[in-house]
Symmetry: C2
């Protein structure tokens, strides 16, 4: 956590120990070219809250930083006992809408801030990026190849999971595959081809090792010769009853190469051999390749998806919405500084659908209202999970269902429409009332 | 690791078991606006190599993925026994220059690829970004506030470490502070101010908790009123012998606000109270603030540094440079595909200095040559560390020394000069020879 969570906590401990509060986690603005976001990262958040505690070693370190003994004794016993409401992972959501709402002791609800923001920022950013790539791929398979350029090992794991939620078919990341049950995929590197006395020899060696699932990388030397070698070796193995699974193109003009490869493969009666393409791909390049009609069956996507290159962070924030006064009564609160206004009170997000099942508009309202389908569900009660963690397959279905309820104008990769998010009558009234009685900043 | 490391390894195990190889890790191209990079991430790499092994659980999982029993038995016993040469962390380097060179069994040297790339990509990218921010700050203090928007928890730790290497003074990340011995810093959030009945009350509570190291956030309501409240409360505490450390500005026109704050503080005889600024800062904004003469003492930098927003990945690659033939003789090798040419042989990077100690040019050569100061040092011999891991303070000094040896034209934030990196005579000869005798891709 950030040090300021703990400095604030020590001050709360001494001055506002009994205070209860509600915080909202939401995204303030959409990144460029986005019209929607896909919520992910909740599982990490729930695991964190479930396991939050300070070890003796942690407390010793904090003592060295100058924290007081009274506060550290309290911290040593601290567990998270709050209530958490959240949208299900895989939900489509929009700026301003709380995706997680935490109510609990002011200290407990405050010190979890940094972790919650970190977890939701990464997974939501990547799930949203991956969802755009799936739109561009238009039904072709897409695989996560981002481990080497993801920002750290933790990121690589979360990227594989988030991309899978948004529709990817698998990952090259073996640990992610093992931890999350995502199909593992892999081919070969250029170094493999270079390690043998000839390209054909390297193909033979690989084919022999994986007779029924070889994907051969054909662009180490000349692509045309590479495809010829792949066809020759595949022919040798076909005679022994084994079929080449595919070839991979990793550089240059992928559309042109794919056309040549398809033609050459078909002429040699290898119609079922698939063509994989990779190499600095993102939704913009894939959209172009798809539009050109290039006969590419599957895409491998790495760097640009893994670090969400065109939007490497989200404007995700965690803001106080209400806090109890000295008498223990919850008072709604908000921040008025310019361009950074927050919404007060214990809120719910409601979604309204049209007759055909498409999302029409969302309404941010207060908990007691009911203008549409409420999106925030209670996931933690007094620090305990209300239900278990959801299987990844179910989260993937949520994402697919959410995306299919989104009209086309919101699924454009550029200059998409702005989805209407309104404030409910009661919330507007509350905001107006607070603005009128704006707490004087004086003493 | 990526699955393909293991598919290749199984094929090597069966076909090229005795092969030895050398791989180079380097960055192909500089990101936009960069003229140099700062190497970081080596410590992670060395820890990984030292501890590399497959658990029974890992092997069971790989068996389910279809790997052969012979290969898995071998994997269960596998440890890394290779030699590693590397530039010291904190070194300034340029595209094409190997920063890590690995020689060992082909299998061992191959399967570590994904981790090495991931580790060097993240830490080097951030150390380079942070170094630019230090240039912009021109002697003012800079602190890492990026935990909440870094891409995962692992990234947040590495960001704090890399930024510290490049000259940052501290981090808000308590775990990074504990693990790496980096000074921890922290102030308060807007929610703290909102949690009390008035801004002044919140300042009093915080001040009372930290009487000698309070930094008050003054922009929750009106900035002018916030500064007035800070001065009033600081006056109350000064009467009791305690001094306010600083105030923090977090939004709006920071230069204007800093001027107003400085004037108001000075008028109230608070000349020693520091002004901290934060809020979406990066080297470009800090350069502007510094140029405007804004009286800001220290900067807090988060999102844009933490995810290296304008260059969220490096073009870092790991390429085969030589491999033994069937007779056990090392043969230099290279990849010729268009725009992706690699350099063959066991290489060294040499740096040449001018009389005043500035870097003049670098020469990539073969190990036996000697045209300048060799930058790659042996850090691992047969899988064992040659020396221990270097203390972070020493790495920070390396970075400072390297940066001070870099002429101003290479330290510009935009349109910097292109530093000369040449190939040695012998390396050129080797490349020409290999190009002439380019291995035929045919069988």
């Amino acid at each position: 956590m950030d040090l300021y969570e703990l400095t604030m906590a020590q001050s709360y401990y001494r001055h506002r120990f009994k205070a209860q509060a509600t915080f909202d986690l939401f995204v303030r603005h959409l990144p460029p070219n986005r019209s929607y976001l896909v919520f992910a990262g909740l599982e990490d958040v729930l695991r964190y809250l479930k396991n939050l505690k300070f070890s003796q070693e942690d407390l010793d370190y904090l003592e060295r930083l100058g924290f007081g003994e009274d506060f550290l004794t309290y911290l040593g016993r601290l567990r998270f006992h709050g209530d958490v409401w959240a949208m299900p992972e895989g939900s489509v959501f929009f700026p301003g809408e709380p995706v997680i709402r935490v109510t609990g002791s002011l200290i407990e609800a405050q010190i979890i801030e940094s972790f919650l923001l970190n977890a939701v920022n990464l997974s939501t950013m990547v799930a949203s990026k991956a969802s755009r790539i799936m739109i561009a791929a238009g039904g072709r398979g897409v695989y996560d190849f981002s481990l080497r350029r993801a920002q750290g090992i933790d990121a690589a794991l979360k990227v594989a999971r988030s991309a899978f939620i948004s529709g990817f078919s698998g990952t090259s990341n073996v640990l992610a595959s093992k931890l999350y049950g995502i199909p593992a995929v892999g081919t070969m590197a250029h170094s493999f081809v270079l390690s043998f006395s000839s390209e054909a020899e390297s193909f033979r060696a690989f084919f022999e090792t994986f007779p029924n699932k070889s994907i051969l990388l054909v662009d180490t030397y000349s692509i045309q010769e590479g495809i010829k070698n792949a066809i020759r070796v595949a022919g040798e193995f076909r005679a022994r009853g084994h079929m080449l699974q595919g070839i991979r193109l990793d550089s240059g003009n992928l559309a042109q190469q794919a056309r040549m490869a398809r033609r050459m493969l078909n002429e040699s009666n290898f119609k079922e051999v698939k063509i994989f393409a990779s190499g600095d791909l993102d939704e913009y390049k894939i959209e172009k390749l798809a539009a050109s009609g290039a006969p590419i069956d599957d895409f491998g996507v790495g760097t640009r998806m893994g670090a969400s290159a065109d939007a490497p962070s989200l404007d995700v924030i965690y803001k106080l919405a209400e806090v109890t006064n000295e008498g223990g009564v919850f008072l709604p609160t908000m921040k008025f500084s310019r361009n950074k206004v927050t919404l007060p009170g214990r809120k719910q997000v409601f979604r309204c659908f049209d007759k055909r099942g498409f999302c029409k508009e969302d309404i941010i309202g207060l908990e007691h209202e009911n203008p549409g389908e409420p999106l925030l569900k209670k996931v933690m009660h007094a620090g305990e999970l209300v239900c278990g963690l959801r299987p990844l397959s179910e989260i993937k279905e949520t994402a697919a269902r959410n995306m299919s309820s989104l009209r086309k104008e919101y699924r454009l990769l550029r200059r998409g429409a702005s989805y209407p998010v309104l404030l409910s009558k009661d919330l507007k009234k509350l905001v107006a009332g607070l603005a009128r009685h704006l707490k004087k900043p004086g003493s």
